[in-house]
């Protein structure tokens, strides 16, 4: 079983801070949905941070490349907040397309 993990915040140079999140979902479809949902929105000022989303089967991988540790933390917490909504939506509605909701 995969667990949520993230690499320690790494200071590669004074203006390059890096971290990687790995979020396991139940299925590859779910991780793809999360990727497509999060991907379009720009985070903060694009010049300050680069966010790359990818999936490895059911795992969503998010790589952050930021100009400072502060920007990196703000970006990670913003993505996690959005991710909570994605997961709650999937939990509540997946597979209930053709039935009356209870």
């Amino acid at each position: 079983m995969n667990l949520f993990s993230f690499s320690n915040i790494e200071e590669r140079s004074e203006t390059n801070w890096f971290s990687e999140l790995k979020i396991p979902f139940e299925t590859a479809k779910q991780s793809k949905i999360a990727q497509n949902t999060l991907q379009p929105d720009p985070i903060l000022r694009p010049a300050d941070i680069d966010v790359k989303y990818s999936t490895e089967e059911e795992i969503l991988v998010i790589k952050f490349d930021a100009v400072s540790d502060r920007v990196l933390r703000v970006a990670i917490s913003s993505v996690l907040e959005s991710l909570k909504t994605v997961i709650e939506t999937i939990d509540e509605f997946e597979g209930k397309f053709d039935e009356y909701l209870q």
Partner: protein, 372 residues
């Protein structure tokens, strides 16, 4: 004549859309049904559900983007679920998912579109991004039956006089600084009156008890308005009144040190001044576009004093006034569903990359394909 049914699926008899609205402190979800054919008095849109949850701050405090976004994230899934249950439909009966693309506060808008995008993929339904102002206008027209009105759109974030011409809702006049609702909300904060159910409503109730008119700056600039100066001026009067600043002879009687007016008088005067300015530019817009219909939409539009003042002017011109109640005036999901469904019926499509919300999105940027 525009046909709304060029993209109908074989065997389909009606369209159903869900709308998600969260551009300010209200989170709204609504579900609407259109039957085939043009909308008319005999073929009205049907509201299947329309629910809302408002983020209310303590007296004296406004709502901040971060906290409002958190409120929306906490509620959006529950509201969507309740809305679909209320409507008594299966998700598979939906044709599209509509959301507010802008204008509004960035973080709250974004928190709602996240749910919309996820749902769109789970259920394989198209997404439709809606301009918030267009939502207000189209819902107002649908509910009241006003065919081609001058639209006064007054809310916490917007103040515009709008008329339709050549597939655009064109802005004839607007505020040059703050919106009228913002002006009222901020004065309510100065007075420390409750934000429940809304600051504007509470000012309206206080104003009913006011009787003395205090002259305030009157700032109509051609077809546009300015309200920040009025707010600064009346804030000062209220502060002097609260702090018992007896040196202000306008506020306090020189000999008796009795105040010359009350908080209620201030609320009354603020409303009278602001609304008179709105009536003036609306009247001029009616003359410009040669119509006698006026439609009031937006949260401030449920103020009965504003409706009354506008009615007096409109009746003088042998016209008719159209306004809706709080279900449709105040931000709601149903208007987003309605305007989005009109876009959907005209074949409008949104790729995911086009679903990024924008804080600035002017009313006249939208091509109104569904009208002649």
């Amino acid at each position: 004549m525009v046909s709304l049914d060029n993209f109908v699926k074989p065997g389909q008899k009606s369209y159903i859309a869900i709308g998600l609205e969260g551009s300010a402190n209200k989170l709204g979800v609504g579900i609407i049904r259109h039957k085939l054919g043009d909308l008319s008095q005999d073929n009205r849109a049907e509201v299947l559900s329309n629910i809302r949850d408002t983020y209310i701050t303590p007296p004296g405090e406004g709502f901040l983007p971060r906290d409002t976004a958190r409120h929306h994230r906490n509620w959006v899934v529950r509201l969507i679920k309740n809305s679909i249950k209320d409507a008594g439909i299966k998700p598979s009966e939906l044709d599209c998912i509509c959301f507010t693309k802008g204008p509004g506060m960035g973080a709250p808008l974004q928190s709602v579109v996240i749910a919309a995008r996820t749902l769109s993929q789970l259920w394989n339904l198209p997404l439709i991004g809606v301009n918030h102002c267009i939502g207000h206008i189209e819902m107002g027209r649908e509910i009241t039956g006003a065919w081609n009105p001058v639209v006064l759109y007054v809310s916490g974030g917007n103040t515009q006089v709008i008329a339709y011409s050549n597939q655009r809702y064109r802005i004839f006049g607007e505020t040059l600084d703050i919106a009228i609702g913002n002006c009222l909300d901020r004065f309510a904060r100065t007075l420390k009156i409750p934000n429940d159910p809304s600051p504007g409503y509470n000012i309206e109730q206080l104003a009913k008890k006011g009787s003395k008119y205090i002259e305030l700056p009157y700032t109509v600039k051609g077809m546009d308005l300015s309200m920040s100066g009025i707010l600064a001026y009346i804030d000062q009067l209220a502060n002097d009144l609260f702090n018992k600043n007896y040196s202000n002879k306008f506020v306090f009687n020189k000999e008796t040190k009795e105040p010359n007016f009350t908080i209620e008088d201030l609320c009354f005067s603020l409303q009278e001044t602001l609304f008179a300015m709105l009536v003036e530019i609306t009247e001029r817009a009616m003359a410009h576009v040669n119509t006698t219909q006026v439609l009031i939409v937006g949260g401030v539009g449920c103020n009965e004093r504003l409706q009354k003042m506008m009615e007096l002017m409109v009746l003088d011109r042998n016209g008719s006034i159209y306004a809706t109640d709080e279900r449709f005036c105040i931000d709601n999901g149903i208007m987003i569903a309605h305007a989005g469904l009109l876009e959907y019926r005209m074949g409008q499509k949104f790729e995911f990359k086009d679903t990024v919300c924008t804080q600035k999105f002017r009313t006249d940027e939208v091509l109104v394909r569904w009208r002649d």
